[in-house]
């Protein structure tokens, strides 16, 4: 699955309809999986045993979401990312709270990052600028440039990116992705962001996530 699904979701040139369908499938899988309470016990052990796999899925979703922002398309795919993340984080949230592994930290930071993205996405006037900022933050390597982002509303987003990146360095081997180092100007991002119009169902999925998954107090600190 990792080789096939992750590669399709991470590849920037894969059609966004295909990404949308894969994400819809993943979202349904985790929804059905977490719905069956009789199997939750097994689910917990699975999450704990396979933290790496769950982190890999979340990392794939992060890459995919950033690519969608950069391309300014795929409203339905964005919807399914939020819906899928909600199910995975819910499932993972039921594991032991004393667990302080890197995997748990990654899920925690991912949740905060997606929460910040979700809150910003709900402010329609910020959308064009946000697409540009996300595309830029995602493609910049190493530590974030201190001059960016320009809008203070995006400061926490920048920090969330940094926190995730630090954990990703520990968790995943960095692979050379020729697309990842493409330079994205903020104007280009804004231009693309203007194309992106979030549907009512997409906004509902985002709101569901931000309402149901509270952001941790330490986020962004």
């Amino acid at each position: 699955m990792k080789d096939i699904i992750a590669k399709r979701l991470k590849a920037p040139r894969v059609d966004h309809t295909e990404k949308e369908i894969i994400l819809k499938l993943l979202s349904r899988v985790f929804e059905e999986y977490s719905e069956d309470s009789s199997e939750i016990h097994d689910g917990l052990s699975s999450v704990q045993k396979d933290g790496e796999a769950y982190c890999a899925i979340l990392h794939t979703m992060k890459t995919c979401l950033c690519d969608l922002f950069a391309a300014g398309t795929g409203v339905d795919a964005i919807k399914y990312i939020f819906s899928c993340a909600l199910h995975i984080v819910n499932l993972q949230g039921k594991t032991s709270s004393n667990d302080i592994s890197t995997h748990t930290a990654y899920v925690h930071e991912f949740t905060n990052w997606l929460n910040i993205c979700g809150m910003l996405l709900q402010e329609e006037e910020l959308l064009p600028e946000m697409c540009g900022v996300v595309a830029k933050l995602n493609t910049s390597t190493g530590v974030r440039n201190s001059n960016e982002p320009p809008n203070p509303k995006f400061a926490r987003l920048g920090e969330a990116f940094d926190n995730l990146r630090k954990l990703e360095d520990k968790l995943f081997r960095r692979t050379l992705n020729p697309y990842a180092k493409q330079r994205v100007s903020s104007n280009a991002g804004q231009r693309l962001g203007q194309k992106l119009k979030l549907s009512r169902s997409c906004l509902k999925a985002i709101k569901d996530f931000t309402d149901k998954i509270p952001m941790s107090k330490s986020a962004g600190q």
């Binding site: 949308e20 349904r28 899988v29």
Partner: protein, 312 residues
């Protein structure tokens, strides 16, 4: 073995090859009943070549071969039976791949008239209902080769696995127990489906119903694994091959599905908003809904039975 496609338009050529080659494959399976065949038969004939864009065709032929081999094995041809047992993993793999085949599901009309109405309006709902009514009265023979044979093949495979024993190539007794119980589970699921259909041919009248039947069959296979305390990684001769195969074939099918969805969405963006275009778009979205629901159900079931690391 596989006819070339030189000089013919690709899709037509593939259709032609598909139709004509199945006959050849059946002859090959029949030959296996009288000849001694090398153990590398599957690998030699059906291997996927690098940059092979006929992979769909090769998979189709491989499936037809497994189907015919299982049929001959249950008819009492001992050499076919021995060959099928020896290639237990391949036969099981092909059965599973066929159950996930989106193209064969798409041959059934959709019964999701609510979605047809929502996306395509009243015209689409009416057209969908008419198509459903027409197909209900259609003879099963109007469907393609594999669609006609899928359920009888599953039943044959079930009989074959039920009789599988240690002499047939693999080692551990608990795996024998699983193969036998998987065989029983497949056979009983097929019988149950046939009984609920009130007929000899368990032909679904809608894509949604077909998906439901396939899901039940796959669930019964997984349930038999749970009963035997086995995971996919324990299967003889397949290792985690079945998980990879399931993930791979779902991804392939999703790829083809997304191409069709993109085509109709693109048409809509270019302004094709006539009733028939809207119907086609609504119909493919209904198939998408059915197929994704089916795959999600099977995958979540697998997730309950194996650790996620195997899948991801």
């Amino acid at each position: 073995m596989i006819p070339t496609t030189i000089g013919i338009k690709k899709s037509d050529a593939q259709d032609l090859c598909c139709r004509q080659s199945v006959g050849l494959i059946c002859v090959l399976a029949a030959l296996c009943s009288i000849c001694t065949v090398p153990s590398t038969l599957y690998h030699d004939i059906f291997r996927q070549r690098k940059q092979d864009d006929d992979s769909q065709l090769i998979q189709h032929l491989r499936t037809a071969f497994s189907c015919e081999l299982a049929r001959l094995a249950t008819k009492g041809f001992s050499k076919c039976s021995a060959l099928a047992m020896q290639h237990f993993g391949d036969v099981l793999n092909d059965t599973i791949v066929s159950l996930f085949d989106f193209q064969s599901i798409k041959k059934h009309p959709t019964s999701n008239t609510t979605l047809l109405l929502k996306l395509g309006g009243e015209y689409s709902r009416r057209k969908g209902a008419e198509k459903l009514k027409q197909t209900s009265a259609t003879d099963a023979n109007d469907f393609g080769y594999m669609d006609q044979n899928l359920w009888s093949w599953c039943e044959d495979a079930g009989k074959l696995f039920r009789k599988w024993n240690l002499r047939d190539g693999h080692t551990e007794p608990n795996k024998k127990f699983w193969i036998n119980s998987a065989g029983r589970a497949i056979e009983s699921a097929c019988t149950q489906i046939r009984t609920s259909e009130d007929g000899d041919s368990p032909h679904a009248t809608s894509a949604e119903k077909e998906c439901g039947m396939r899901r039940e069959l796959l669930r019964s296979i997984f349930a038999s694994m749970k009963q035997s305390h086995l995971s996919f990684g324990d299967l003889p001769g397949t290792h985690d091959g079945n998980v990879r195969s399931i993930a791979g074939c779902i991804t392939k099918n999703v790829f083809f599905l997304s191409k069709t969805v993109s085509y109709y969405e693109e048409q809509l963006r270019w302004g094709c908003e006539d009733d028939d275009s809207l119907y086609k778009r609504a119909e493919i979205r209904a198939y998408e809904e059915a197929y994704i629901g089916f795959c999600a159900s099977v995958l979540s079931d697998m997730l309950r039975r194996i650790v996620i690391g195997y899948m991801y």
